[in-house]
């Protein structure tokens, strides 16, 4: 074994001994108070404002079912908007009080289909640029605050 290795091993032994003898540090007195205060605050929060994991099982199942339903409706609308106008689509019957819904959807569908694809792409690009700009402003603000901290 080389002298370097021997010295490394000796150093490891010394430090292992020194660090093993280190006692635990004393936790700040404020820690227990903070934990108890946080527990009291959590207990005072209404159930629906707690995390999803704390909701009752029935509420969680209902929430998931409702979410799936909303997603399904949203997808159906997207598919409907993206397909060409069809006489069959316009022929479904709704009560007269809801006829405006049918008219509204047909109008939205017609407008959506007539928007040039260039506009759509430009809109997406604009959205991306604005998102990046917002991210940049946030990053600058974070750095400024961090530097001042």
């Amino acid at each position: 074994m080389s002298a370097d290795h021997e010295r490394q091993d000796e150093l490891e032994r010394q430090l292992t001994r020194t660090l093993r003898d280190q006692p635990l540090r004393r936790a700040p007195d404020s820690l227990e108070r903070r934990v108890l205060a946080q527990l009291e605050a959590s207990a005072a929060v209404t159930r629906w404002r707690r995390g999803f994991a704390h909701w009752p099982l029935a509420a969680r199942v209902a929430f998931l079912a409702a979410s799936v339903g909303i997603v399904k409706v949203a997808l159906s609308i997207a598919v409907w908007l993206s397909t060409p106008l069809d006489a069959r689509v316009l022929s479904f019957d709704l009560p007269s009080q809801l006829a405006w819904v049918q008219t509204l959807f047909v109008a939205i569908g017609s407008v959506a289909r007539t928007v040039p694809s260039l506009w759509v792409h430009a809109g997406i690009a604009l959205f991306a640029i604005m998102y990046l700009a917002l991210f940049g402003v946030g990053a600058s603000a974070y750095r400024t605050m961090r530097a001042a901290h």
């Binding site: 010394q14 430090l15 540090r25 004393r26 936790a27 700040p28 820690l31 934990v35 527990l39 750095r143």
Partner: protein, 176 residues
């Protein structure tokens, strides 16, 4: 809680190197413990559970903070291996032997805090958390070789810091 708060706080403080952040993490650990109170109340391994959660939350905190800082900082060059000073072994034996135990413990904690994070983390995980080199590499997401190198350099840096401080402390205490 009182039985474990020093252990939880110490684990976090040594890993994150910041008492205020360590207190935040310790608070989070105990809040999680209260969520699992029914299981932990009678469990003989409650201490181990708390220590593991404290370690994991501390590492999560470090990685989250590190990622955020890197993202929002200029593209600074990572500290590379080449920047490390040459390791020296010109260390006196039993550098702190003549120093009062309380002072010595304080000096060791202070020296640990002064180590750069890339050295302190693997050193603490190895010596205090008693993880193997392989486990440390897995936890930190670095190669086994880097873990060994960092621990090796950390030991040398720590010993050097202790030697410097030890001489000062020994002198001030009138020790030989």
């Amino acid at each position: 809680m009182r039985a474990y708060q020093d252990m939880v706080f110490t684990t976090s403080a040594r890993l994150v190197g910041d008492d205020r952040q360590a207190e935040d993490i310790a608070q989070e650990v105990f809040l999680k413990a209260f969520e699992n109170f029914d299981q932990l109340r009678t469990s003989p391994s409650a201490g181990g559970w708390l220590k593991t959660v404290a370690r994991n939350l501390s590492l999560n905190h470090i990685f989250r903070y590190r990622r955020r800082w890197r993202m929002f900082s200029e593209l600074r060059r990572e500290d590379s291996e080449e920047d490390e000073p040459e390791v020296e072994f010109a260390l006196p034996d039993d550098v702190l032997a003549g120093v009062d135990a309380d002072v010595r413990h304080g000096l060791v904690e202070e020296a640990l805090h002064r180590l750069p994070e890339r050295q302190r983390l693997p050193l603490v995980l190895y010596h205090f958390e008693e993880l193997s080199y392989e486990e440390i590499a897995g936890q930190l997401g670095v190669s086994l070789a880097k873990v060994k190198t960092d621990i090796f350099r950390a030991r040398a840096a720590l010993a050097k810091l202790l030697a410097q401080r030890g001489v000062t402390a020994a002198t001030s205490l009138g020790a030989p």
